[in-house]
């Protein structure tokens, strides 16, 4: 595999990039228990985007791990998870926002940085906006649902160096918010950097042979 991109996203920061069909996208939880909020768009038509409900309905399970196909809102496979050393990831917990923080923790959290701030800022760099905010994945985040429906973000099961890797089934724009939340255990109360790596299979014909 050739590495075509390798970048460390600072703590609390947004990031976006393109993963082409057939390329592999890896996210590494460098220091452990860092939630990585993530959305995907069809890079040719961003109205087609990752859908948590379609992904859950397709696999009849709420947890994402090796073998999960991440589905679009049009029912198309976007990426397939090919490796996961963490074990499971969340897609029902949504992204933190300044506004929802006021409900969850109190109005004193209104001006804390939040994932929706990262997402809308990053989307705006691509001519997109809040209408394009959609259901997301929280890589490395742990959200169990109890028998009575009780649900919450609890202590993580990730650790330093754990990673998840997925193969793109279409040309995909990835938008990430490296979660800045400090009011619940999703980041161990200490947001940290994460690394993203894009690789692709060796080309069958070396460029020199084409000359």
């Amino acid at each position: 595999m050739n590495t075509v991109y390798d970048f460390t996203i600072p703590a609390r920061a947004p990031w976006s990039g393109i993963v082409r069909k057939g390329q592999t996208f890896r996210i590494v939880d460098l220091e452990g228990n860092q939630a990585v909020d993530c959305v995907f768009y069809n890079s040719r038509d961003p109205a087609e985007r990752y859908s948590a409900p379609d992904t859950i309905a397709a696999q009849k399970n709420i947890f994402l791990t090796t073998g999960t196909t991440l589905m679009s809102n049009e029912g198309n496979p976007m990426l397939t998870i090919t490796a996961d050393t963490c074990g499971r990831h969340d897609t029902i917990g949504g992204a933190c926002s300044c506004e929802s923080n006021t409900l969850r923790y109190g109005h004193h959290t209104k001006h804390q940085h939040a994932c929706v701030e990262n997402f809308t800022y990053e989307l705006a760099q691509h001519g997109l906006g809040k209408r394009d905010m959609t259901s997301n994945i929280n890589w490395f985040m742990n959200v169990p649902v109890e028998a009575d429906g009780a649900l919450g973000i609890v202590d993580g099961i990730s650790a330093p160096g754990k990673y998840v890797e997925m193969r793109a089934e279409m040309d995909t724009m990835v938008v990430i918010s490296n979660c800045p939340q400090i009011n619940n255990p999703c980041n161990g109360f200490n947001p940290t950097p994460v690394r993203v790596i894009i690789t692709e299979p060796e080309t069958e014909i070396a460029p020199s042979a084409l000359g």
Partner: protein, 273 residues
């Protein structure tokens, strides 16, 4: 039997002969003609009476304080439901916040439908069913085609996503405005391994009643749940009623049920100062 419609006069007479036709799945207009109303529905304040058969959809703007009652007439409706701030529809239902803020994945009496702006769109004032779905969202053309052979709008098996798309275009909105929805009257529960457990547990006459906590645009489609295992495209009739009522007071028990609910209402009241 062929009807002679060879000139506009005959065609007009033919069209007008349909006047007054009554079927089950239709709106009552004027709504003052509504019949067989439940005894606790105030007829003088009625805004909306419409029945949806399988595949049908409707949408409407409801003012703050309005009540919206969904009646599962024969126990087999599947209500695909979305809501928006009618005055500023960039604010819309956020299912993740709806379950996360209330610390509960399951809807029921007293639960809130929260927007993505930290406000409450609607609260559930009555729920005789208590078995709904916050996980699986809308069917689409591909999922319906896989089950029923086709899933297009023009087919006998229209899907929820396309129903939402058309409804949204009538309010100047579009595909990008389709957020994850909830489904009333079809149950999805989660087992300890994270698996979804689908069940049809509603009975004939079950009611979900919602109170508009802001001016809302509601989209309602009655299409089979994406996990409904039946081979035939099946959804029972749904009656939709709405009427004018009072804006929620500061002493409301749903408003004050938890600190999270209280702040959601405070944020909403702040919008109307």
């Amino acid at each position: 039997m062929a009807v002679d419609l060879s000139d506009p006069y005959k065609a007009r007479a033919h069209a007008r002969s349909m006047h007054g036709t009554q079927i089950k799945a239709m709106p009552t207009i004027p709504v003052s003609n509504a019949r067989e109303l439940p005894s606790d529905v105030p007829k003088a304040d009625l805004l909306w009476d419409e029945t949806l058969a399988a595949g049908d959809y409707c949408s409407r703007v409801l003012k703050r304080g309005s009540r919206l009652r969904l009646i599962n007439l024969d126990g087999d409706a599947c209500v695909n439901f979305l809501a928006y701030n009618a005055d500023h529809p960039i604010e819309r239902l956020n299912v993740a916040d709806t379950v996360k803020v209330k610390w509960s994945a399951y809807l029921g009496q007293g639960k809130l439908l929260l927007s993505d702006m930290g406000r409450v769109l609607m609260s559930i004032t009555t729920d005789t069913c208590g078995q709904h779905d916050t996980f699986c969202g809308a069917s689409n053309a591909k999922t319906n085609a896989a089950k029923y052979g086709d899933g297009q709008n023009y087919s006998p098996h229209p899907n929820a996503r396309d129903r939402f798309t058309i409804a949204l275009t009538k309010h100047g909105l579009g595909k990008k405005d389709i957020a994850p929805n909830v489904n009333f009257f079809k149950s999805v529960k989660i087992d300890p391994e994270g698996n979804t457990i689908f069940a049809s547990l509603s009975k004939a006459g079950d009611v979900v009643e919602l109170r508009a906590e802001m001016n809302v645009l509601v989209l309602i489609a009655n299409t089979p749940h994406v996990l409904d295992p039946r081979k035939a495209y099946t959804a029972g009739d749904l009656r939709v009623l709405a009427w004018k009522s009072a804006i929620t007071g500061s002493d409301d028990p749903i408003r004050n049920a938890s600190p999270e609910s209280q702040r959601a209402f405070e944020n909403t009241e702040d919008l109307y100062l």
